[in-house]
Symmetry: C2
Subunit: 307 residues, 2 copies
């Protein structure tokens, strides 16, 4: 019987002064009951008006911190992503002022998903493959005080790496005594980039085990994940838009703008629906980063989401 | 019997005043005998000294231009990538002053590949899956004069998109009467990003057919490619390094620096060998581009290249 870190045992900033909620020896397994990224502010019946009213001081809670005995700065904490519990519902939002194209999409938008059947239907005829992962996972920072949980940092955190799926071994740098590990922000699915700012945000349980590598030092998180990668084996292939620019962010924006145009003209979705669909299903790849002065970014839409 | 555009029928800048070498009707197929990106300056027996002596005015030749009857600005040229001929040899170089980490790698480096057996062996025990594609493919630009062929542009060009593999339908904007299509710079394999600046550069034939979409206007190239994507179904999984930064290019550099360190410590390759291996096999993904102020880029090493 593994110990459970409950959803109320959470915190919403990285602060190494937050007292641990539990202590483990390396080798132990834990279950985390993860709340959704709104921290319970949204529900399946919520609307765009509820998105506009979100209290940002409460978003992106992480369960923990967990003190790992023997962990010291300069060690690496290996986190084995063992299993995910079932997902009953999820949400995808466009939040004013947030997201890649926040200037073009100033209004709140909300899509809620019924995930209880093990399927994620966007609209009639569009279904997203479920591939759960934790959006935020990390150790405490060495710098004192409260640090925003929104950006990813050298401790991991809100990395939103969609391949932290079942079977992944994640390596996190230990920056403080006891590592002070936390996890949250579980996603049922996401595209590489998470362009609208949210994935299929879904509360779920996650089972993790831990191993400590004494004296193995890494500067930022690394991981090993089983193949094949989720979303990449679309039997129907991919439709891809490209954007070139002297800076990568402009290239990303162009590729996603073209993809939104492609989706709205091909599948009769609105602009904001296409933007949200990109966030949960479209993958951003850096095709080339050397042919000066222009870089090229490609946005890949897997065609097997269209039934 | 399809018409052939021979390797000497090439040019090394984008210039819409270059006279067409051939004229086709939409629907026709063509074979292009593509020279390697050094334009014959390197051979299987070349060394790093030959890289240092490269004449950059001659690099990256493209076969053409081909005049497509009826093509006008505002149309889209669909290019169907039908087939590739066999590859006998290839090269991968670090060219001084070029590549993502050119400051850390100031010296010329050259690896030549015997591809005649249908295999691409990097060193004993490391083999790269062959997945040929054209690195440079495009139409003429509307602006007069000679434009460098190195950067990708709104006409396509040196996009180095590794998924322009067999069966791909590439959509190119037409900017001038007749489209003035050219193709070259064939690669036997490459990772997303092409970080050292070169792929497995290999001369080969490429068969293409063409279709014209009158009045269909796109701002930059788009394409549709069959699934599953090459390199993504590694049964052995992937080792991944991550880099976060406020700008994507810094995040890319960090992820690749960490990957070079991982490869050199794990597989006993030199730094420059690891850098070249990243260029031909490691894929750059933008994991998140919204968690302000930091972006996160991940570099994926497919583990099935290690035998």
């Amino acid at each position: 019987m593994k110990h459970t870190i409950h959803s109320h045992q959470n915190h919403v900033t990285w602060d190494n002064a937050i007292p641990p909620v539990h202590e483990i020896d390396p080798g132990e397994k834990l279950r985390f009951e993860v709340q959704d990224a709104s921290n319970g502010q949204l529900s399946y019946r919520s609307t765009a008006a509820d998105v506009a009213a979100l209290d940002f001081g409460q978003v992106n809670p992480v369960n923990g911190p967990v003190y790992v005995k023997g962990a010291q700065p300069g060690d690496t904490l290996e986190v084995h992503i063992e299993n995910f519990g079932p997902q009953s519902w999820g949400w995808t939002a466009v939040i004013p002022g947030f997201g890649l194209l926040h200037e073009a999409f100033p209004d709140p938008y909300l899509k809620t998903w019924d995930l209880s059947g093990g399927r994620a239907q966007f609209t009639d005829g569009i279904e997203i493959p479920i591939a759960p992962f934790p959006g935020t996972i990390g150790t405490a920072l060495p710098e004192p005080g409260a640090h925003s949980i929104v950006p990813p940092r050298k401790n991991g955190g809100n990395m939103d790496i969609r391949h932290l799926t079942r079977g992944t071994k994640l390596y996190l740098p230990v920056w403080t005594e006891g590592a002070l590990f936390s996890v949250g922000d579980t996603h049922a699915a996401q595209g590489d980039g998470e362009v609208c700012g949210t994935a299929i945000e879904a509360p779920m349980d996650i089972d993790l085990s831990f191993k400590l590598h004494k004296g193995k030092q890494i500067a930022e998180p690394q991981f090993e994940t089983p193949g094949p990668l989720h979303h990449t084996s679309s039997g129907k292939g991919f439709y891809v838009t490209t954007g070139h620019a002297e800076d990568l962010l402009t290239a990303v924006k162009k590729a996603i703008e073209y993809m939104i145009e492609h989706i709205t003209t091909t599948y009769r979705l609105s602009d904001v629906e296409a933007y949200a669909l990109c966030s949960v299903a479209v993958d951003l790849k850096i095709s080339e980063v050397v042919d000066m002065p222009n870089h090229l970014v490609s946005a890949y839409l897997p065609l097997d989401i269209f039934k």
